[in-house]
Point group: C2
Chain length 421, copies 2
């Protein structure tokens, strides 16, 4: 079955499969011990981790990586501290494994119990973002899943330094260290081995990163893929918006961290409020260093912006650039989102509950908001501790995928000798 010629990888995956079976039925306390010990290891090895990251950053700067990617790659004390806090939150969260989702009894006396179980073994192929190593490791550990991590090549040293902390955590707790594995290299060929050469050893692949990676995974993978696609997120400033909120949220949604998938890429403004709102919002965005690309009507109201082209509406800039369009009404805003959005996160700025209800009901995205920044689209902000990604596919899990998203379920039925008529 397993057809890879990469024996090192095959051995890692086989050990992982075995270790995952132990992790699947590990007691909650033991798993939490491992998570807390991981946080302790990060604090202990802080200097080594930052030195590893420094090495990655220097190499990345030499390769003149884009600013948004450098931002994702960079670690500092505050970001390590945030990782540790995420770990503590995951440890404190309820264990999803063996949780009863529903239980009921049928007339013939059969007692049904639907309970959560781990999925099994996951492979996560992600961008050069070291914190994903810790987030993914901790979530898989808590949800009883084995995981094979394959981070981006630019984060090679940082990811390995953080992976060692996860293994130290497992060891302290007496759990098999093989349950959280990392690929021996970041070769692109190795991704092919994961996609097609480990049949029966991996249950699901979670790709995170650029369009070309996702496209490759979806085309080649012979096992289920939990998709994570673009974030073309929208802010829609409704005619009943409060101006102050519209300005603050627009600037935050775009400029807090322009390089993440939950950053807003397009601002839609109701034509009735545009003459007053647009100059304020556009001015604040420009002051914050954002490049503006507007439709013709927007440029008539606020001249100081480039002309948006058709392709701007479907582009994930991941940079301090925003496209701006004046729309006739909320229907036109929702139609624009249906046409160009990626089903990730959209926010309506309005004081009208009617408008908000329509938007939150009809817009078919994983996350729909009223009067809040799209940058809240994050597992941590949802109270999930951290996340393994924002799913934009429609099956299994949608939005931030965390503990529950990493489980499946089974039905337990207890009878007293029932046969079916």
């Amino acid at each position: 079955m397993a057809a890879t010629q990469n024996n090192a990888l095959l051995e890692i995956a086989q050990d992982l499969r075995q270790a995952a079976q132990i992790l699947a039925s590990a007691p909650t306390k033991q798993k939490n011990t491992a998570i807390i010990a991981t946080a302790k290891a990060i604090k202990e090895h802080k200097s080594a981790i930052l030195a590893a990251n420094e090495k990655d950053m220097l190499a990345a700067q030499e390769k003149t990586l884009e600013a948004s990617k450098l931002d994702r790659l960079a670690l500092d004390e505050a970001r390590l501290q945030a990782m540790c806090e995420g770990l503590e939150i995951v440890a404190a969260l309820p264990d999803p494994v063996a949780q009863s989702i529903k239980s009921w009894q049928t007339e013939n006396g059969l007692r049904f119990n639907q309970i959560r179980t781990p999925i099994g073994v996951l492979a996560i192929i992600y961008e050069s973002r070291p914190n994903v190593t810790i987030d993914a490791g901790a979530l898989c550990l808590k949800s009883g899943n084995g995981v094979l991590l394959r981070g981006g090549s630019e984060s090679f040293y940082s990811s390995r330094a953080l992976h060692l902390c996860l293994q130290q955590g497992l060891q302290v707790a007496g759990l098999p260290v093989a349950a959280i594995a990392i690929t021996p290299s970041t070769d692109r060929a190795l991704v092919g081995d994961i996609l097609t050469g480990l049949d029966g050893l991996i249950d699901v692949i979670i790709p995170r990163g650029g369009k070309s990676l996702i496209a490759r995974v979806q085309a080649e993978a012979r096992i289920p893929v939990l998709g994570h696609l673009d974030g073309i997120c929208h802010i829609y400033v409704d005619e009943h918006a409060e101006l102050e909120k519209a300005v603050a949220i627009s600037v935050n949604a775009k400029m807090r961290r322009p390089g993440i998938c939950e950053a807003a890429e397009t601002l839609l403004v109701h034509e009735k409020i545009a003459p007053t709102a647009l100059p304020l919002i556009a001015g604040a965005l420009a002051d914050a260093g954002c490049t503006l690309r507007g439709c013709e009507r927007a440029r008539q109201i606020y001249a100081n912006m480039e002309a948006a082209q058709e392709q701007d509406w479907s582009q994930e800039y991941l940079a301090p650039i925003i496209s701006i369009k004046i729309v006739d009404d909320i229907k036109a805003a929702m139609a624009h989102i249906a046409q160009y959005g990626s089903g990730h996160t959209e926010s309506i700025i309005t004081e009208s509950d009617t408008a908000a209800d329509a938007f939150l009901t009809k817009v078919d995205s994983a996350i729909v908001m009223q009067n809040a920044s799209t940058q809240f689209a994050d597992g941590g902000e949802f109270g999930f501790g951290c996340e393994i990604g924002i799913a934009t596919s429609r099956l299994h899990a949608r939005g931030p995928v965390a503990l529950e998203g990493l489980t499946t379920y089974k039905y337990q039925i207890r009878g007293t000798g029932q046969t079916r008529p």
Copy 2:
């Protein structure tokens, strides 16, 4: 995007996509009206449906279809009545759409609501089993999903007659009849068009049927597949089994309807109880017309059976044949199931709660039972009204897939101007 050359199919799928958007937000009452009207239509058109089925049955008998397939194909008044009862149950069940799964508030005042939404448009490719037409149609209708039905070629006339009843139901309720579509033919080439030629029009494919169909769908499909695989179901008679239950359940699990996926294919018997239990169970199975294929140890206890070969343990007979193995203990039984089972349904016969707990916790199948027949593995028996299939894959849904399994969810977030620090 949509690349099929089959213009009739393309037109059906485009109309379906549009109709599904209306169905997605249709009020519960309207959907229930359509379901009840479908049941009424089945009663009204009973003679026409049975005549259509007669036509299919005659052709199938000429092609000398196997008995289990003829059993699946056959309709009679009782089976039509059962369909109508299933429809009434689905109408009476709560509407999953817009149901709140969870709601909570974070410290910054954001209010979260996770609510169920329809998946969108499903394509169901199924075997020559006419009742699936009604079950799938009713479940998709109630869960707000459009559906493209493609039944097996042997059930061509029966499926079309039942599909007309579904369309009559939609029409009576004032819903678009295009929301439940059936393929214009049952050509095999048309399956390829569904798998690769309708990009953007279908959200998920649910294949039901033989291994070759499933393998083809999983290899060719460019959209997510909700898998439905073999049912290699096991009965394990534990050392603490009550003999009367063991006999009754074994006979029912195999012989009630040997041709369905939840029929037991292998009987495992604890060595300590085998000398008393096996002769009783084997005798009762033989009396009921079942062919027995035993391991060496089993044949020493009950001579009147064929010798089981290695391939017997992984075969889905779908016929009155059962393989029998004596195991050393419950661990050996669970190891056998892990090796040869298909993750569908397994039942332990025991009066020991310890043994039952171990089995129900550790056996990693969609449905695990104590003291009940595997033939209860059916959406109707779970209280789901009916089912669209038993999922044996690990993502999205497992076990009988009914209303909830046909939904996804989204997160609605209501704020008061929050920006992310």
